[in-house]
Symmetry: C2
Subunit: 221 residues, 2 copies
């Protein structure tokens, strides 16, 4: 039996890139300048090259769109409805990424006229089945925030508990009790005290850093 005995689909990776900016959870979308769905917004993505792994493909596209590397990236789900792309059979492996908005340099790449961050509450019509992918990603994001430490990957090395709490409040769209939040985070035993921040326009906060190495995500179930 040879591989060529079977019709071969095309395979892409698509990325749901989240960040927090201006007190809101944002996702990166690109405007397509080629058919199909020309001039429509879509998730960034592209074809998997024949000699790269799925994760490498996702990392490459992430870098092409945002200029960032070494950020939180995980495989989300694979979508393969035979009709999802009008050009023919295209299967996509979706990934989601979390990046610190300070580090991003948005670039429109080939096939794309514009790249922009959208609040997840104001998403335009999307190409292909990207609405479904995005909704799935948002669910997973919330879940991961609740049960792991991925939220920390949106912060600089040293951060205050207030900054951390703000991120949670934005993602869950609700106020959190400060005392309970601090108690819970500190009881995890994963933070190291750093210096006290200077030059705050109010009482300066205690800064913390992660004890384990950056990017190591732990489960707190």
């Amino acid at each position: 039996m040879k591989l060529s005995d079977f019709e071969q689909p095309s395979v892409t990776t698509d990325l749901v890139i989240f960040t927090i900016k201006e007190n809101s959870l944002k996702v990166l979308l690109v405007k397509r300048n080629v058919e199909p769905f020309k001039d429509k917004w879509a998730l960034p993505g592209g074809f998997v090259r024949i000699d790269e792994s799925l994760e490498d493909s996702a990392k490459r596209e992430l870098f092409e769109e945002t200029g960032v590397k070494n950020v939180y990236l995980e495989q989300l789900y694979s979508f393969g409805n035979p009709k999802r792309d009008p050009r023919g059979r295209v299967i996509t492996i979706s990934y989601f990424a979390l990046i610190n908005s300070e580090k991003v340099k948005l670039k429109a790449s080939t096939d794309v006229s514009e790249a922009k961050l959208f609040s997840v509450s104001k998403i335009p019509l999307l190409a292909f089945d990207h609405k479904e992918i995005l909704e799935y990603a948002i669910k997973r994001l919330k879940w991961k925030f609740e049960y792991t430490t991925i939220a920390f990957s949106l912060l600089p090395k040293k951060f205050s508990l207030g900054e951390l709490q703000k991120i949670y409040e934005i993602v869950f769209e609700k106020k959190i009790d400060k005392r309970n939040f601090r108690k819970k985070i500190l009881s995890l035993g994963i933070l190291k005290k750093e210096s006290i921040k200077k030059d705050a326009p109010h009482r300066p906060p205690q800064l913390y850093s992660l004890k384990n190495k950056i990017g190591e995500i732990i489960n707190i179930l």
Copy 2:
């Protein structure tokens, strides 16, 4: 831009089919009778047809191997290391299924000389990267047992709490306190009392059924 501008990989679905039999968690493996990995054990799977969805492909293969339909099936993860198949670029979308062993009729299909259930504690060397896929599936299975009601899909419509507990004990490989287990399950409020089982060789148990429709999995986080 045309799809054919990109080299197209082959795409398969592979299945991790779990069941419980003889007080042990088992997984279905097939013995390959073609190259590569001829005469080696592997997860059942096959190429995705050009006009079927990923899930339909998994369902079709599940049916071909076991003769069962309408069982618990979920997408697991996609594996796409460029070297995972010596024949060339093959990306696989893995699925995991949970079936009641009473309903299974194992069939060796094309390319396969034998199909057999193996205890997860006694897995032979596997073809491709199937060991990795299986380990991932076992982790997910345990997680799902802990936080959802998938365990019920291994039972007949009417079952006793003892039968349910036994399944948990097999999957987690440890004894569970009977009183606490019953308290927790009953407090979920998802069970309906049925009749009392007759013809038990000991005190006959109260039978229960699920209030919601079969196959509906709920989260109990």
